[in-house]
Amino acid sequence: MSPTILFLLVIGLGLITWLAARGRAYGFSAAGRVKLHSLPSYHGWYAALWVIIPAGLFVVIWSAISPGLSIQAALADPSVAALPLMDMERNAIVGEAYQIARGSGQAAFNPAASALVAPMKAAISYYGVIGAVLTLIIGLAGGAFGFLKLRPDFTARTRVERVVMGLLLIASLVAMLTTVGILASLMFETARFFTMISPLDFLFGVKWNPDPIAPLSADTGKTFGAIPLFWGTLFIGAIIAMIVAIPLGLMSAIYLTQYATARTRKWMKPLLEILAGIPTVVYGYFAALTVAPMIRDFAAALGMQNPSTESALAAGLVMGIMIIPFVSSMADDSIAAVPQAMRDGSLAMGATTSETIKRVLVPAALPGIVGGVMLAVSRAIGETMIVVMAAGASANLSINPLESMTTVTYQIVQMLTGEQSFDHPATLSAFALGMVLFIVTLILNIIALRVVKRFREAYD
């Protein structure tokens, strides 16, 4: 019996218990002797929770262990003796038979597996029945326990609310668990990577050319120098993209907040925000299809020999466009947070609007703007699809924006797609790169958020 059916069973049982317990509580109040402590529906919930929580937990655990149990049982069958003893082959056959017996696989690819299907099916239905019976017993026992505890003066509401509170707490822990999960998985794989490749080679080497199929040798570490990746990431995300995004974003914010009429503002602001809502894969395609060929032609016109279609400039430019609304909205917020008195004071002294902006508003808003730019940089260096589609794969350590360059995110995608084995440093290097990316963006975000917060407090 599949977990879905078991879950439905639990929910059905819970519903019946809810109705029954609520009915009982109504019975108390109809008898009219005592005032109920809690509303009848809380009595219903109390009893229903006693069904749903234990039985639901059981179903979760059962659906995790029952496949193993059925396979174990099926392996007691005499036909198993014919199976090869080699672990991998044996597991493949057993797995296939299990899939077919569940009804999710097509005809057996392996003849040995089809012999195993019948005992497997028998085992699955046997354990299915056991699971259903156990669920039923646990559910009924829980329901009976909850039901029998009901009294007119029973504090059902307090108890139900305690459970709800626990649920809320668990939900809010998910975010922390995710952070821990990210850190743990990155650290685990990174540690494995560093047992094979020295961290010094990785962090300070200047040649990136890992070969995912080459066997390990003493020189393997020399091909894992990540400096060209770090440089490519910074050059595209923090330099080229920011050269585009900071002036455009800042000036757009200034124009829209200080000069534009209410009507222009009403139309242009959402228009710019559309830029932030376009998926990055679309930007990547735009970069590869439209921008990159233009830049290649431009490079050829400059007299460059065999300019490549992929260039740091194409990726950086399009990334900058993507970041414009981000910078613009951060700048907008920061300028709006500058007290009106400062602006009025400057204007009253006879300064023109542009002088007020340049000499008073922007300097006063500077911490906020810098914080916003840092957040923008952190977003740009973590951006993946644009660089995957437009920046190229060759790890060049160059300052020529017309050359192809690769980034941390590009290499993560490169190393983890296609053929991968989790024992090779090339695959594991993706996690080390991810770790570096995570740490750098984390630091940027923490500093930026702190700067912005302090700036807001200064004017509050």
């Binding site: 509401r157 990210i182 974003g249 228009l271 466009i321 993560i412 995608v413 983890l416």
Partner: protein, 421 residues
């Protein structure tokens, strides 16, 4: 004798020196304003440029080059009878009966020995679906429009070898080939030939993935927003939770892909490239967005409502679930839709969990291999053929329409239900 401060003569604003200075200042003011206007216009221009280039390229993506094919089914002698076509395994029966060869034979009969190279390799699939839809055709001689081969399709755009171009011109004069609107693009799945591809498979994958994301991220996000805003005591633990939520919202999406790969695939052993795993990964990414917007919405509910409910004897749980949550719900929903729209366009984390395989049929369920729209766009963008460029743009337009609709709903909700207290 005391020093009296030297009396300054009042500034003569009419003097040429001062008017010149003033002029320069006003000129700089105008320049600054123009620079601002230019920045806004340039940003808007980029947007227009991007949208126009995608729309322009996509026009061809919703059409395909088709060739007329005369098929004389009775003469072909397919070993299939009409009743078999009504059975559920009709598609398989037809493939086994040699429909593919029959179609290329008909092409040769219609257009001479070269004929087979005019129709797409997958053209028989078109014929098959026509037959299944209308089994009566099996007894007739019919004219069917099928996808033309890739060569012929590029000849239609004026590219390719001269001989195939000549052949195309000849066929075009007979009225046998032409470009036709291709509604099948919306109902087919991935294929190797641009004439045969469709986006339904990817779209269905996206819908299933988004379903999982919503089911996981929405309840968890709303509950933790309620907890943090209404109940959480101010202590170190709460601070830690808050910090991790704020950071998660800014962690690069590809990191979530790495998490999904090592926890969901390697550690928990869930199937690769399944909507279930994709949805779980995206849920972790969307949840912080929902929490942050949810907290803002909850903050917006005035304290007087809380006080009033508490004063008439509601418990703290009742206050929140009966009064605060319904009032904050429009704001929470707006944030949820915006987070979901972001998840719908997300590509990188899904590449990490193996969603880049060639999947030629729409997924059956949450655990069968699937592709999603943005990944499909990425996969097609790697293809060099001109036909795929148009198809990619068409898929992008479909994706953008979906995003536009979601954002439209969010804006509508905000305008309709937002309350000013």
């Amino acid at each position: 004798m005391t020093d009296t401060p030297a009396k300054l003569a009042p500034t003569n604003w009419a003097s040429p020196e001062m008017t010149g200075k003033l002029k320069a200042r006003y000129a700089s003011e105008r320049r600054f304003r123009l620079v601002g206007l230019a920045a806004v216009s340039l940003s808007a221009l980029f947007l227009v440029c991007l949208l126009v280039s995608m729309t322009w390229n996509s026009v061809g993506g919703f059409t395909r080059t088709e060739i007329k094919l005369n098929i004389d089914f009775p003469a072909l002698g397919l070993t299939v009878d009409q009743s078999q076509l009504e059975a559920p395994d009709a598609a398989e029966v037809l493939s086994r009966a040699g429909l593919a060869e029959a179609v290329s034979l008909s092409a040769m009969q219609s257009y001479g020995p070269q004929g087979a190279s005019f129709v797409s390799d997958g053209a028989w699939v078109d014929v098959r679906s026509k037959l299944i839809a209308n089994p009566g055709l099996l007894m007739q001689k019919v004219q069917i429009n099928v996808a033309a081969s890739d060569d012929l399709a590029s000849a239609a755009r004026g590219e390719g070898a001269p001989d195939i171009k000549a052949a195309y011109d000849r066929l075009a004069k007979q009225g046998a080939v032409g470009s036709a609107f291709d509604p099948g693009f919306l109902v087919r799945s991935d294929a190797t030939d641009p004439g045969q591809v469709g986006i339904w498979g990817a779209l269905k994958g996206s819908i299933l993935t988004m379903f999982v994301t919503l089911v996981l991220a929405f309840p968890i996000g709303v509950l933790s927003a309620l907890y943090l805003e209404e109940y959480a005591p101010k202590n170190r633990w709460t601070d830690l939770i808050e910090v991790s939520i704020n950071n998660l919202a800014a962690v690069p999406s590809i990191i979530f892909g790495l998490l999904g790969l090592s926890v969901f695939l390697t550690f928990m052993g869930l199937p690769r490239s399944a909507p279930l795993v994709g949805g779980m990964t995206l849920a972790l990414m969307t949840m912080p967005v929902i929490v942050i917007s949810g907290r803002n919405a909850i903050k917006g509910v005035p304290p007087s409502i809380r006080d009033a409910a508490l004063a008439i004897g509601a418990s703290r749980i009742q206050v929140v679930f009966h009064h605060i949550l319904p009032l904050a719900l429009p704001g929470i929903l707006t944030g949820t839709i915006i987070g979901m729209a972001r998840a719908l366009g997300e590509t990188a984390p899904l590449l990490m969990i193996g969603m880049r395989a060639f999947v030629a049929s729409p997924p059956d369920g949450l655990t069968s291999p699937a592709s999603v729209l943005p990944v499909q766009i990425f996969l097609w963008s790697d293809e060099v053929s001109r036909g795929f460029i148009e198809r990619t743009s068409a898929a992008i337009i479909v994706l953008l329409i979906f995003l536009l609709m979601m954002n439209g709903v969010a804006i509508y909700l905000r305008n309709k239900f937002e309350q000013r207290w």
